[in-house]
């Protein structure tokens, strides 16, 4: 989401977050801490980022041109030119600190109630066949080696038996990070995908849906609402997120989504068993080794007429060098080591390499529809969160060839 290019938005107060049984309780000051972070992120977008652009255009780029005979030609030259620019350094330091503070605020919030959250999750998950954990599943190195976006311990960390505190932190803190722009349920990507499917392909009625890298399932649930008949399987390697996601869904009245602890490169789902396989903001958190295997797994899972689709940020090639440079910040400063590679990639070409027919591969844009507040209050969740999507349809003969 274009956090730093959106000067108009007022962040939603944290008290607007959607309530469910797993949401950690928050005191006045804990809420205020989240709200300050949302405000700081708005400041970054509305005031500091434009100052960085002004500095680049007014001072840094001309100075570079005077020295080199041309303006910075690519992202790398912009980075070199900007490395000592005070406006950029301030923007970067404040942004890094809002991320650190967001993590600290979330950690301290959940740490004091970790046992209570675990117990609530256990009570909701008790005896459910729809939660399938596999402690023997190896954790991919791209998950185990990194505290992704500064989340201490990463997705799989457990401080206590049956821990759900990292996903609780993720759920509560994500709302603050994006100032509520993903909606009260943090599910704008899932809503955007569902809305795109219903608008562009109204006759497409998937019977089985797989969400790969589902995390806490926040973007899985909108597909349940859009396709009530579909059987939905949500897959992730992180047990804490699956426990939390399964319990969260149940507390929201959804008890028929299967949450399975599996690797997106090798699920247990049979060949040609799904009509829709999707990821939301997952591919950039994988690796050069895993990505082609995930794309191939999607191909393997699809029935004829099925769709594989992945929501991400747009590839860098769509932007001028300065904007690429700003967008690349997360790769280096927000612990997203695969971010840069993913955004330099042509995912349509990668889909073709995974076996999809080039004529069936497409790029599009998925936009979350605006929300209407339940209490009728004018609600400003709609900062129009919009994603780049790359997708491909499975043709009948391809499936036959793949299976045969």
């Amino acid at each position: 989401m274009e956090r730093y290019t959106d000067p108009m938005a007022h962040p939603s107060p944290w008290t607007d977050i959607g309530r469910h049984d797993l949401l950690p309780a928050a005191s006045h000051d804990e809420i205020a801490r989240f709200d300050v972070i949302a405000q700081l992120n708005t400041l970054l977008a509305a005031r500091l980022a434009p100052a960085v652009r002004a500095s680049f255009e007014g001072r840094v780029s001309p100075a570079w041109a005077a020295r080199h005979g041309h303006e910075p030609r690519d992202r790398q030259e912009v980075a070199e030119a900007m490395s000592s620019d005070p406006a950029w350094r301030s923007w970067s330091l404040v942004r890094r600190n809002t991320m650190e503070m967001r993590q600290q605020a979330g950690r301290s919030l959940v740490a004091r109630q970790a046992t209570a959250l675990r117990d609530r999750a256990q009570a909701l998950n008790e005896g459910a066949a729809t939660l399938q954990l596999d402690p023997s599943l190896p954790v991919p190195r791209y998950v185990s080696a990194v505290d992704t976006h500064l989340m201490r311990g990463g997705y799989t960390a457990e401080q206590i038996e049956g821990d759900v505190s990292n996903p609780a932190n993720y759920d509560a803190g994500f709302f603050a990070t994006v100032g509520g722009m993903a909606g009260p349920w943090n599910d704008a990507a899932g809503r955007a995908l569902a809305a795109w499917l219903q608008r562009e392909h109204p006759d497409f009625q998937p019977q089985r849906i797989a969400d790969l890298g589902c995390g806490l399932g926040h973007n899985t649930l909108p597909l349940r609402h859009a396709f009530p008949q579909a059987q939905i399987v949500a897959v992730d390697v992180a047990a804490p997120f699956l426990r939390y996601g399964h319990a969260r869904a149940r507390s929201l009245g959804i008890d028929d989504i299967e949450f399975r602890q599996q690797d997106a490169t090798a699920t247990s789902l049979p060949d040609a068993s799904c009509d829709l396989v999707f990821t939301t903001m997952v591919l950039h958190e994988t690796s050069a080794e895993a990505l082609p295997r995930i794309l191939a797994e999607c191909k393997r899972l699809l029935r004829p007429g099925g769709l594989a689709i992945h929501l991400e940020q747009p590839p860098y090639r769509r932007f001028p060098p300065f904007e690429q440079f700003m967008r690349d910040w997360d790769g280096r400063w927000n612990n997203e080591p695969f971010w840069t590679s993913l955004h330099e990639m042509d995912l349509t070409e990668r889909m073709a390499r995974a076996g999809f027919r080039p004529g069936e591969i497409f790029e599009t844009e998925c936009r979350a529809p605006a929300l209407v507040a339940a209490d009728g209050r004018a609600e400003d969740f709609g900062r129009s969160p919009v994603w780049y999507a790359v997708g491909a349809w499975q043709t009948a003969d391809e499936t036959a060839a793949a299976i045969g």
Binding site: D29, L40, T98
Partner: protein
């Protein structure tokens, strides 16, 4: 060093904002229950010399702490 200065400053910025939010909550709840309204707070004047001195001391000590790096250290000063 500069990175750490930023971190500490931003943490202070955030905590001050949290404190202001709490103060705002208290003021609004007091007003809602008609205990003390915003006008009364705006119109506050020290009631006597003791209140004047207390407020003055509050500010002086606060500024002393804030500007400790700008004030000369002389023998007999309390440790900073």
């Amino acid at each position: 060093m500069l990175d750490r200065l930023y971190s500490v400053t931003l943490a202070l910025v955030a905590e001050l904002a949290v404190t202001r939010a709490r103060l705002d909550t208290v003021e609004r709840l007091l007003a809602r229950r008609s205990v003390v309204g915003a006008e009364e707070i705006e119109a506050y004047r020290p009631a006597d010399a003791e209140e004047v001195e207390a407020r003055s001391r509050l500010h002086a000590e606060y500024l002393e702490r804030m500007f400790r790096e700008f004030t000369p250290v002389t023998r007999g000063d309390t440790p900073r």
